[in-house]
Assembly symmetry: C2
């Protein structure tokens, strides 16, 4: 006898949320279309209004619908925009990393490999405005009194401009998660003046290559930056481990 191994008994609000979600994905419900009112949905699914509401809240949390109060209010199918999708992407990526499923090297490798996929296009398509942003961030990074957090934030802004230079929102969307999610890990690094000088140097190489529409030079500079980031993280980890040995010895 075939067992239905996935559905011992699923919560009603989950079932309802999935039914509506499928209707949206399959196109039965189109963008900006109004769903039936909660009372109508209660009748339709044969459940109480709180249950329907929990289902709708699940969908709202995924940005699939928005709700509006008032006479002509209700729940409407949401057009998912990149801005909102960014947020979800960043949250998920951040948690995936912070929950120890991924070590720094792996995340860093993924981030730079993805970014290298962009620079080829960025070298071809970058606008003067995006280039100016990159230059401005480099200039900021070279200033002496900058805090580590501000340095990292500028680093993110630099790479954001670099990625946006590819002029492909799908790439920007994907990279947003990869670049920003790694920022907290980067923030644990204490950058020495020498580290910063090297990073600024590499950033300048990238900007120069982008300015000259030189894809391969940009790719090479980014590869160097990737290697240097891993190296830095490696040093940090070693320093931490030696500190650990000092505080908790006899771990052979």
């Amino acid at each position: 006898m075939a067992m239905k191994d996935k559905k011992p008994k699923r919560d009603l609000s989950v079932q309802i949320a999935e039914a509506i979600k499928d209707a949206i994905i399959s196109g039965q419900l189109i963008v900006d279309e109004r769903l039936p009112s909660e009372a109508e949905l209660s009748l339709k699914f044969g459940v109480s209004r709180p249950t329907v509401r929990e289902a709708l809240k699940r969908l709202a949390a995924q940005n699939l619908i928005r709700t509006q109060r008032g006479a002509t209010g209700g729940a409407f199918v949401n057009r998912i925009r990149f801005e909102e999708a960014y947020g979800q992407q960043i949250t998920t990526s951040t948690l995936l990393l912070s929950m120890n499923e991924v070590d720094f090297e792996t995340a860093c490798e993924a981030r730079f490999m993805l970014e290298r996929a962009c620079v080829t296009l960025s070298a071809q398509r970058r606008t003067d405005d995006q280039l100016a942003t990159m230059r401005a961030e480099i200039h900021r990074q070279a200033q002496p009194g900058l805090s580590d957090e501000a340095f990292c934030a500028s680093d993110v802004a630099f790479h954001r401009a670099l990625v946006d230079g590819a002029d492909n929102p799908v790439l920007s969307y994907q990279l947003a998660g990869a670049v920003e999610a790694i920022e907290p890990l980067m923030n644990m690094v204490t950058f020495t003046a020498r580290n910063r000088a090297r990073i600024v140097e590499l950033h300048t190489q990238i900007a120069n290559a982008i300015e000259n529409h030189d894809s391969s030079a940009a790719d090479q500079a980014l590869a160097d930056l990737a290697a240097y980031s891993v190296e830095l993280a490696h040093d940090v980890r070693e320093a931490r481990q030696s500190r650990k040995k000092t505080t908790a010895p006899a771990a052979s």
Copy 2:
């Protein structure tokens, strides 16, 4: 006077959900930690239990928590796993594409640029098992009686194996969205025998390059496949437009 433009009045369940979410992201609540019961949360936030429940359902929809009934039950912080994150990623990517925010060329470009970021690593690290999977899918794709859907599914499986060859879960996670989300668009293409032969040929080139650990050859073959995909989609669009002209003439 400075207006608080973002917070005219946010719903209580949203506020509570965000408070808990921040606690999770900031590490105040760690993985598998139990949240207070719904009754306790009601007291703590000064709201009713249904409101707390709606907040918890929002978090559950984002896979941030799971709930369990019974004496030792409650809401627990979820360890986000790649498998679950895949699902969200694919859903979001699919909707972003299907809601017309993105045209096929853009999505296709992003997908193949990202995939090219993987093949370098795949060429270095692929296991014999992954290579065998790729060969098997190629063999399936070459069979004559295959439906378009099955051909596309095999295409996805092939690229999935290719991506997994990079042995980097973060890359696999990112690519899963890009590759699978585009499948519905690919399914609209009716593949002729000649199309398939060309795709199989390119897949074989990729597999050969991966087998020989030849990164640049793999990259080149994938670039060719990208160009061919865009070409195919272009033909499909033209055919559709000419069909449109036939049914609605006088469009110059």
